[in-house]
């Protein structure tokens, strides 16, 4: 009960932090511009002649790759740089309450940005009659994907007091998670003639897990994968913070 209240307090502050500076608005505008550009220009939304949002969702793993670390990079790095971490962690709260609170705030923010893409949903429904179940599943998957990248960004943010370093490391880790399911990489492994290796590596990829959402399948295994990565990254986040304090 008490811990929920603490998490809420921290999440509220963190969310307020986004909107009290231009960061939130800049991020949302850029996110919407880029999704629009990729969906309609690069994704050939109109030329496809299909009432689906495939060309919208297929870009999400790549867009998030750079945008989500922007949201997550300041979470801990900034606290360490300014010294407020000392203030926060000497309050009668546990470190994991702070970790979960910060993560949730950023996730809610990303969810809000994602929700603001509703015009594409309206457009596709106006132009044709898409399978809205598929679209909602894909939105759900997209949110989980964003959460996964975000948890990794939280973790890298705790590693350093420099936001740029935190950004770069988290992009690299997320890129790794994307690439291990990317056809050129899996093809390379297929040529090595070790099918179990291919399966193992590609099972770590967010691509393979995200794809099934875009096809309208909400598989508990995929959901578990994302939740597991989030849990693991946040746990590591806690370990890093503790090790910093231990000096």
């Amino acid at each position: 009960m008490n811990s929920l209240a603490n998490i809420k307090t921290i999440a509220k502050r963190e969310l307020g932090g986004y909107f009290s500076s231009p960061v939130a608005y800049v991020f949302i505008v850029i996110f919407l511009l880029l999704t629009g550009f990729f969906t309609f220009m690069a994704g050939n939304f109109f030329e496809r002649g299909q009432a689906s949002l495939d060309s919208f969702f297929m870009w999400h793993p790549w867009l998030y790759l750079f945008l989500v670390p922007c949201v997550g990079m300041r979470l801990w790095a900034e606290e360490r740089r300014v010294g407020t971490l000392e203030l926060l962690l000497t309050k009668p709260i546990t470190a994991w309450q702070a970790i979960v609170g910060k993560f949730l705030a950023s996730w809610i923010f990303l969810g809000l940005a994602l929700a603001l893409t509703f015009p594409v949903f309206l457009t596709v429904n106006y132009l044709g009659s898409p399978d809205n179940g598929v679209i909602f599943a894909a939105y759900f998957g997209s949110l989980l994907l964003a959460g996964t990248y975000l948890a990794i960004s939280c973790m890298t943010s705790a590693m350093t007091r420099n936001q740029v370093i935190s950004f770069i490391i988290s992009v690299v880790i997320c890129l790794f998670l994307v690439l291990c399911g990317f056809p050129p990489v899996t093809d390379l492994l297929t040529r090595m003639d070790k099918p179990w290796l291919v399966d193992l590596v590609s099972s770590f990829s967010v691509m393979t897990h995200f794809e099934s959402f875009t096809k309208g399948m909400i598989d508990s295994r995929d959901v578990c994968f994302f939740l597991f990565v989030i849990g693991f990254a946040l746990f590591t986040n806690g370990v890093i913070i503790r090790s910093h304090r231990a000096g």
Binding site: N2, G16, S20, T84, T90, P92, R245
Partner: protein
Amino acid sequence: MIKVENLSKAFGPKLAVNNVSFSVERGEVLGFLGPNGAGKSTSMRMITGFIPPSDGKISVGGFDMLTNPIPAKRMIGYLPENAPAYVDMTVHGFLGFCAELSGLRGDERKKAVHRVVEMCFLESVLYQSVDTLSKGYRHRTCFAQSIIHDPDVLVLDEPTDGLDPNQKHEIRGLIRRMGERKAIIFSTHILEEVEAVCSRAIIIDRGQIVANGTPRELKLKSEFAGAVLLVVRGVAGARLTERLGSVPNVRKALIVKEENGQVWARAYPMAGNRTGELLRDVLAAANTWQVDELRSEEGRLDEVFRSITLPETAQEKTK
């Protein structure tokens, strides 16, 4: 209220705090003195639970900081060094946030914020964002968050650092008043502050406690403690020291300076001698001279501080 036993902290091979023990009771204001890098901030961070000690025990209000940190932290108000605050929040928002984390909700929260705003004179900047504040206001804002839940224990790391003399005076007054009901530890470089505020002081150097006592006791360790300063006119310096040196309780007598026919001389007492006696003896010895001034000296904290914390070679140099 605060009990620290055999506290040590090592950063790699470097021992920042080495086997420090002390306790602070309610109604005490403990001054934490020491040169930069002596381990003051590290000790305070361990007491407030920000970093775990390498060795030793800390208990706050009966709760062990290592095994039971949450209730222990609830009793502490902490002002970290350099007074950090969330720069993107308003003063009001920041104080409200800190109140909520200390478990104050709803009406209680409102009252708590109102109380500290009044105590720390923050009304005029209440809805200003923290990064637009001057250093003094920012410091007071951070100080306000440390007392927002009216804690029994206050740990203040250089609470008057960077404030102007008026603000320093205000904060000192505040600390002294709160010290009547709370247990307070605060660190400072300013020695006059220790005399003005503390009921007890600890001098820490290279991680170890090198002196512990009331400001008065510490001052008695000074060479000057109980010394008598004599200003006379129309007497040669050599004759003066000769006569003073022969006074029974005087250990040695030195000329401080000679100026415009006046001679300042200081007579140092034998160990364990009371001031009054020496004063009378010196006055008797100066019987026939034209005395302009005669006073006994209290001993100086800064001199004690230097003699304790400077390594021997540096001490030679300053002499």
